[in-house]
Amino acid sequence: MLAVFKKELLTYFTTSVGYIFMGVFLLISGILFTMGNIFGMDSDYATFLGGLIMIFLLVVPLLTMKIYSEEKRQKTDQLLMTAPQSTAGIVAGKFLAAVALFFMTLLITGLYPLFLSFHTRMDTAQIMGTYIGFFLLGISFISIGVYISSLTDSQAGAAILTFCVLIITWIVDFIGGFMPVSPLAGVIFALIITAMTAGWMYNATKNIPAAAIPVIIGVIIIAALYFINQDLFINLIAKTLSWFSLTKRFTDFPMGILKLNAVIYYLSFSGFFLFLTSQRIEKQRWS
């Protein structure tokens, strides 16, 4: 893992990718910081940092687009597969290299609150909390990017797809507010999820009975829950979207609240996408 990590991190600095990522992110954040906090005479740094996520979302695809797609295009992925490295180790190394670059960039933005602290009293603990939140949300975004990069051998495709997915995760909360709230809509939503699972299973196995298993289990669970407590299905769509939302949990951090369950959610979210990535790579061994 360490070898992959070192090699990847070095690649960021020996090619233009790392510099473009850092340069673009720091330029835009510098402009926003100057306009908002310095010339706006505003000492509220946590809110500025919260707003910076949007910029980060734009540059994440730059960071992750080539992680696997480039290996695939150059066929070096086959070298990796035969290297004395576990798939999980390779995925973790590549992911951590991207995270390290992101972390360095964040460290540089640490200059901003330092400047402000010369001229007013800052709420240090709250700013640290926001940074922790930003970092956790950032690694979740990166894990999505890493996974998407493993799906395609086109860098541009990976970048565009990552960008679209991140935008969707960004607005998913907002969409939830417009969804129907009736229990019936909730049931239909649960059935659609079950159908999608079945579709995925069928796509993987091309076998109808294998796909039927999740349908049967899903329908039984939905029916049982519906008869036990119908209220569970009220507003189910919005509740589910909001529960999975990455951004909703982030809003606590700039307010100054550090919640253990948010930290765990971000870590498991990243963990799941890294797991999917390693599954994806592993697939090449048997397909």
Binding site: T120, R121, A210, M255, S287
Partner: protein
């Protein structure tokens, strides 16, 4: 019939898909498990999202179930209010919190509101048994209005309001205050205080002592706001006998020139002497440049460690007084009466009793400061040593509670008044919960410094990256 017979590839794919589902399910369960563990850290400097000890004590003593409703569409809850409410719900199993959509539950809400009353989203209903209280969203913030009428949020008063409502609904106790009339006093409505006082859990009645003859037995405290004429001997007697039985009195007074001997003698029985005149302040830190450093208009010093002024101190709220008279303790004192100055002027102030003297500076006739402007008085029981006798607060600048020209109503003065009422009615638990300031210090930066920082952030840092990149990439190209 189809069989679940899979070839090598499909078997692997099926296993992989199942494993993905299992991992996803496992992670969701794991997160749901942690969802209900209220482990969190409040990182705000002013502990905006933590409950004070007073609230914890009150919650610990709850005997009845309390229901709190936050009225908001799902997903659109005001987060700052919801966070504080979550702390309440987490602190006791007796408190149940529900977020309800006001558009979907009009019937439920109408149980708690009066006919025609509309409740804005983000408001909170606290209910227990037959008692309930509706707290409007805007009442959970302390808001000040600029001279242009622009509202500005200065602080959060969620805990203050919710604890006060909890205390009310769990005990049903709503102290009755009687506001005296008949001497050209201000009414609470004149001072814009009616609403504030009723939100602080008081039920308000007016009292014409000449007609009634005595103070009603359910009076928790009597309020006299800037009488322009003296009270009669009979009224003075009625008030004295009420105080003897452990009553509580808030008196605000202004310089009127009227003979107030009956009021004076009533207060003198409790070691308090009012000196007509006005206090002039010269300490520029206490004057307002916006008012031309007018020495009659200043911010008095607050008492050290006192339940009435502590919340003002904690939030750096400044009270302001205007043409204040002076208070002092009598030379010969009854020992069981404890006189505590609450607001006083500085050493560079003086009291002017010669009203025809127009000098802006201290003259020989003036009495040197500091001068007490407001004081509390508590009577201790000689036998038990407890402070359970009469309680009095005198404020020698009654006008300062009203709207001041050019400044509007001073928030700290209102808080001082409400804290006084709470102390007088012995509701200490609601006194010490201060509104939590959201105020941020502005940046003290000159234009040159701002430009230097701008240059560093917008030019220097990105340039440094571009130069490093160019050098490294150029060297690699020419290896």
């Amino acid at each position: 019939m189809m069989k679940l017979k899979l070839n090598f590839k499909a078997r692997h794919a099926g296993m992989a898909a199942l494993m993905n589902i299992a991992v996803l399910g496992g992670l969701i369960l794991f997160n749901l498990l942690f969802q209900n563990i209220p482990a969190q850290w409040d990182m705000t400097k002013r502990k905006l999202f933590s409950l004070t000890d007073q609230t914890s004590t009150l919650i610990g003593g709850l005997e009845k179930e309390v229901q709190i409703y936050l009225l908001a569409k799902p997903g659109q809850e005001p987060k700052d209010i919801k966070e504080v409410l979550d702390r309440y719900a987490g602190a006791s199993s007796k408190i149940n919190l529900d977020v309800i959509d006001p558009d979907r539950n009009p019937a439920l809400i109408s149980n708690y509101t009066e006919e025609g009353q509309t409740v804005s989203p983000g408001s909170v209903i606290v209910a227990s048994g037959a008692y309930s209280r509706v707290i409007n969203r805007m009442d959970m913030y302390s808001i000040s209005y600029s001279q242009q009428g622009q509202p500005q949020i200065l602080g959060m008063t969620v805990e203050q309001r919710i604890t006060s409502a909890l205390s009310y609904v769990s005990t049903g106790k709503e102290p009755k205050i009687y506001v005296m009339e008949g001497h050209n006093e201000f009414t609470l409505t004149d001072l814009n205080l009616q609403d504030v006082v009723s939100k602080a859990n008081f039920s308000i009645e007016t009292l014409n002592l000449l007609k009634e003859g005595s103070i009603p037995s359910d009076a928790e405290l009597v309020v006299i706001l800037s009488p322009k004429r003296d009270i009669t001997i009979n009224e003075s007697k009625a008030l004295a006998s009420y105080l003897e039985q452990g009553g509580a009195l808030f008196v605000s007074l202004d310089l009127t020139g009227a003979d107030m001997r009956n009021m004076d003698s009533l207060l003198e029985r409790y070691n308090i002497i009012i000196t007509p005149g006005f206090v002039m302040e010269k300490d520029t830190n206490r004057l307002l440049p916006g008012m031309g450093n007018n020495p009659l208009f200043f911010s008095p010093r607050l008492a050290v460690e006192n339940p009435i002024t502590d919340s003002l101190k904690e939030n750096s709220l400044d009270t302001f007084v205007f043409t204040s008279m002076a208070l002092r303790e009598t030379e010969i004192r009854k020992r069981n009466l404890k006189f505590t100055p609450l607001l006083s002027s500085s050493e560079s102030s003086w009291l002017r009793t010669d009203l025809n003297n127009t000098s802006e500076f201290r003259t020989a006739d003036d009495t040197a400061g500091p001068v007490t402007i407001a004081a509390s008085l508590a009577e201790t029981n000689r036998d038990t040593g407890k402070e359970d006798g009469a309680r009095i607060i005198v404020f020698a600048s009654g006008k300062s509670l009203s709207t001041l020209p050019g400044l509007g109503q001073i928030k700290a003065n209102i808080e001082f008044f409400i804290n006084s009422l709470n102390w007088l009615s012995e509701q200490e638990e609601s006194i010490n919960i201060p509104s939590k300031s959201l105020f941020r210090l502005p940046l003290q930066m000159n234009a040159l410094q701002a430009w230097i920082y701008a240059a560093i952030c917008v030019l220097l840092i990105p340039l440094a990256i571009i130069i490093t990149a160019s050098v490294i990439l150029f060297r690699r190209k020419n290896l």
